[in-house]
Amino acid sequence: MSEIDIFNQYPLHIDPQTKSISLPQSSAYTPTQITAINAELQELNDLHRSFLSIEGPAGIPPPPLPVNPKRSAQITKLRDSANATYRKGNHVEAVRLYTYAIDMALSRPGWEPVTLAREELAGLFGNRAQAHMAMQAWPEGFIDAKSSVDSKPVGNVKAWWRVGKCLAEMSRYGEAKSFVLKGLEIEGRVSEGGKELVALLDDVEAALKRA
């Protein structure tokens, strides 16, 4: 009997129908313990639901690679239709479609590669930011563009530009400058997007001088 066999037993309860696990009310734990346990059980039950949707006889999550192409295809489809809607000039509808796609990408099961989720969401957030900007909804655009660069800092020059642009539009020039500088540091000045960033930087600096 080594230490590895010792554990704290919790008087858990399983619902016969839904199979969800819960902690009975009457147990003697401190409130912090109870919240911790309940939070963990909540996660467990959520994860269990996605476990049940796993295909295959083993019923275990497949290894991270290769990825199941189904969800990727769905998300791509939604994004394409959102892009088309945006090009037609229907920005409200485009935002709605992008939001659907984002929700779908966010609800990917956790065992799928995080790099994939980052890549997808960086694009989707970036596009939604663009749609918001077309409606002059600067704070929404700023938040989405920031999410996008946080998801994928490298090779995402458009999103960097959008962050800067939104901040500049809200006349938060100081912040805009620091974001644009960070973007330039990562993306470089020579590329097409880099030049746009430089142009934006000039604008922002001019505005700062004026202020």
Partner: protein, 246 residues
């Protein structure tokens, strides 16, 4: 013929020697184990692990037939095992990142031996824990043990990433409220500029400077809010006056 009487003395000597050695050794080991046990554990209680085992022992009859539990379906146990593996990954990574700093501190004598012992104990425990999880996983599905930690690693990273995104998105209301107030004050500034009032220009220029710092600090933005409100209360009168003049 063996002379038992003359052998009794050396035999007794040997017996006493071995006996005392054995007693000393067992006492020493017991004390050492006690000391180790009395050390504070490195990590808090492993909640996921506790839940996993609690689920396993939920049904008294389950103990004999672990494979086909009547009460807890296997999928729940598998889920629980994956949660446990995810927490293990977190802990192993934490240990790995702490190890280097701790060795440096130990060499300099900045930390005591106690801490180092606790750390080593935790390391050993985690090693066993990981092995145990692999064995359990293999018991459910052959070869799952080889991928469960890969999956768990992605689970952890995805979790971190989702939380970050949720954090970004949760700031939306704050940003929107802030921008709403700011927009009002800027528009006011423009109106005043149009009216040719000097004070209006100064205020409009003041606003952008105050903005960057107040966006991050909600307390400050509250102050801003008060300011802006005060302005907006006082300004309509001015505006009317301006219009009246024209």
């Amino acid at each position: 013929m063996v002379d038992w009487l003359s052998l009794a003395v050396p035999l007794a000597y040997l017996g006493v020697l071995i006996g005392s050695l054995a007693t000393f050794s067992s006492l020493y080991r017991k004390r050492k184990a006690q000391k180790a046990a009395s050390l504070e554990p490195w990590f808090p209680a492993h909640l996921q692990r506790d839940i996993y085992f609690s689920l396993m022992h939920l049904d008294p009859s389950a103990q004999q037939t672990e494979k086909k539990l009547p009460a807890v379906p296997e999928s729940v146990l598998k889920t629980s095992l994956l949660r446990r593996a995810t927490e293990d990954i977190r802990r192993v990574l934490a240990l790995r990142s702490q190890k280097q700093a701790l060795t440096v501190l130990l060499q300099r004598g900045s930390v005591g031996d106690d801490l180092w012992q606790r750390f080593q104990l935790a390391e050993k425990e985690m090693e066993e824990e990981v092995k145990d999880v692999v064995a359990e996983a293999n018991a459910y599905v052959p070869n799952w043990g080889q991928v469960i930690f890969q999956s768990a690693n992605e689970m952890m990273n995805n979790d971190l990433y989702r939380k970050r995104m949720a954090e970004h998105q949760s700031k939306l209301a704050e940003e929107k409220a802030f921008w709403g107030k700011k927009k009002a004050s800027i528009q006011e500034g423009f109106m005043k500029e149009l009216d040719g009032s000097e004070g209006g220009v100064a205020e409009a220029e003041k606003a952008p400077e105050a903005a960057p710092t107040s966006a991050t600090l909600s307390v400050q933005s509250d102050e801003d809010a008060v300011l802006v409100e005060a302005e907006s209360v006082s300004s309509p009168g001015k505006k009317k006056k301006g219009k009246g003049k024209k």
